[in-house]
Amino acid sequence: MKVADHAERSRIFNKDVDRVDWHDETLWFVRGKRDKTIHQIPEWEELRNTASQIKAHTLSNLHYYLQEFEKNATANGVTVHWAKDGAAHNQIVLEILKKNKINQMVKSKSMLTEECHLNHFLEENEVEVIDSDLGERILQLAKDTPSHIVLPCIHMKKEEIGELFHEHLGTPAGNADPQFLTAAARESLRNTFLNFKAALTGVNFAIAETGEIVVATNEGNADMGVHLADVHIASMGIEKLIPQRKHLGVFLRILTRSATGQPITTYSSHFKKPGAGKEMHIILVDNGRTRQLGRADFRNSLKCIRCGACMNTCPVYRRSGGHSYHNVIAGPIGSILAPNLDMKEHADLPFASTLCGSCSNVCPVKIDIHDQLYKWRQVIVKEGYVDPAKKVAMEVMAKALASPTLYRLAGKAARTTLKYAPFVVNNKFNAWYLHREMPEVPKSSFGEWYQKNRKNND
């Protein structure tokens, strides 16, 4: 069965205008905080340039840096694993847990494990997983998925969360105070931290030179999990590498400012060696990344540091919600990553954009997101993942627009019916007219006016 596409999901999301407005304004507010903070950094644009170049360099030398990282991490006492895809990654996690006879794991924020559907796999294998990031925990209780990579439950209202906590954590019915609900989660998760023997974290940056990984959180949940557990598993995509520790001086200046407008996350934790008597594992995951590396037009998408700024600024994302993208990573960046994973399934996503270009401008590593959306459209059409009716319409239009005679004929028709106007070409029920009036039809086209009034010039 075909999943509903972005347009259809957006149409449903837009039925609740108040919620759309709330979603739009809340994320726009985050964009505003980002704007305010970047204007305090005179060298902001140079930081973006440099970060982009560091990532470009790293991707061009990734073969070396991956081995360098492995060598140095191993020397630090860390076990390094390699996983070709999500299934291999999940299997590695399970084996580490089994070997240590552990059946409970606390997990901090990791979009990669969402991509691999780790929770579901571990639950099937009788491992209890508890997400410790508050937003992720809320989603776990709600059996829902993140709609934003930094603000995972931005699609939920506090009343819904209050209801959920009442059901699962025993908070009083009707209490939807964020302060109170956060305190309840703190209480419940502290127990988890103190009792669980394994902790999985994501990775924001991995440093080839030192073999260490860096994890950024505001809550402190990654550290609470890791330092109180016996086994630390860190899952990372192979594109998370940077060459040297000093390069963090660039990335940590731009990551959180772009994400939420904070100058830095509360905690920027550098995990280098396992504690005495403890284990530390790092899983390097490919899952399509090497394929994307080989696509010259789309390679730059691997520079992404997952700040979510492109989502906050995207006028389409703000008004369609993260779930409308039916992909683990939503928004503009998700739309250029997803077709690499499954082009047919995600053929609609590069079209879920007006190509306004705001995403590329906020991107702290200067990914040419909107240009890549344009390029994916060309690839998707060439690969045949497009509505045949649209293809026929486009061929007819291309023919008409290549011939001045046909164009003039079509133009006359368009002025009376709008039927063949380019912007409504693929539309069966005239979607333009549902909420918009047609332009007033002038007596003559400019071409006709010109014939009458500027004959001498012709």
């Binding site: 005179p42 705001s358 590329s360 291309a398 627009l401 290549a402 380019p422 333009w432 909420h435």
Partner: protein, 246 residues
């Protein structure tokens, strides 16, 4: 200076007054303007839909029509951006390259090439300036709100020469209106919501007119304004600069 007028297809068909204003403006500043009559479209509607490979015929027609001029000027940032970034002709690559480099959107042609210092125009109204994305982020007609970089605005530079005009401030200075070519029908719900929100920002700040450099965005917002039975009108920047009376 020999200038060819490039009038986007939907302007030709639905907004001839915008084309006339553009023509008259260029003539006022001494340009020798021609309108190559066999022009059709820049090909953007196909290209943005993923059918760039079908734009060869369009491109060839464009090159045939527009070769031999000093400049090509259009009252549309979007179409100009498409020509500048995507016009190709295998039969005549040199000419295509020259056309890419000499095709200008009207406003930047007035400020950068004609270096207009004064205008004879009056427009005693409150006007909201819509920054069309392709003009703004593609052609860099004004500073983009996302960057930490010095402020400038070519449209504002010209509007400031218009007498009696009052430019209103907006809550969101350069958010997309949601037109987006075929997006406006393929993603009807979001497109309309974006347009409604954009229009609301102008209305909330008491605009009588919404102006801009791209008729496509304005046509979309006009459609929404009219459906809402609003008194707020749309007007292309060329029409204001050409004297201001409709």
């Amino acid at each position: 200076m020999k200038v060819a007028l490039f009038i986007p297809c939907y302007v030709d068909q639905f907004y001839p007054n915008v084309a006339i204003a553009t023509l008259e403006l260029l003539e006022k500043y001494g340009c020798e303007v021609s309108y190559p009559k066999n022009q059709t479209c820049c090909g953007q509607p196909m290209a943005n839909s993923g059918f760039e490979h079908l734009t060869g015929g369009c491109d060839r027609n464009f090159v045939n029509n527009f070769k031999g001029y000093d400049y090509i000027v259009a009252p549309s940032g979007s179409c100009v951006l498409h020509i500048r970034e995507h016009l190709h002709d295998e039969d005549d690559p040199e000419e295509a390259k020259k056309i890419r480099e000499t095709t200008y959107e009207l406003i930047s042609f007035l400020t950068d090439i004609l270096k207009v210092k004064e205008l004879n125009a009056s427009f005693p109204h409150k006007v909201g300036m819509h920054q069309s994305c392709h003009g703004l982020r593609g052609l860099k007609l004004a500073q983009m709100s996302e960057l930490n970089a010095p402020d400038f605005s070519k449209p504002a530079q010209l509007l400031n020469m218009v007498k009696d005009i009052e430019i209103i401030h907006l809550g969101r200075v350069d958010e997309c209106c949601g037109f987006g070519g075929t997006f406006c029908v393929a993603e009807e719900a979001v497109s309309v919501k974006m347009g409604q929100d954009r229009v609301a920002d102008h209305i909330q700040h008491e605009a009588e007119y919404i102006t801009g450099v791209d008729m496509s965005c304005l046509m979309h917002m006009e459609g929404i304004l009219k459906r809402q039975k609003s008194n707020v009108k749309i007007i292309h920047l060329a029409e204001i600069l050409n004297g201001g009376t409709k």
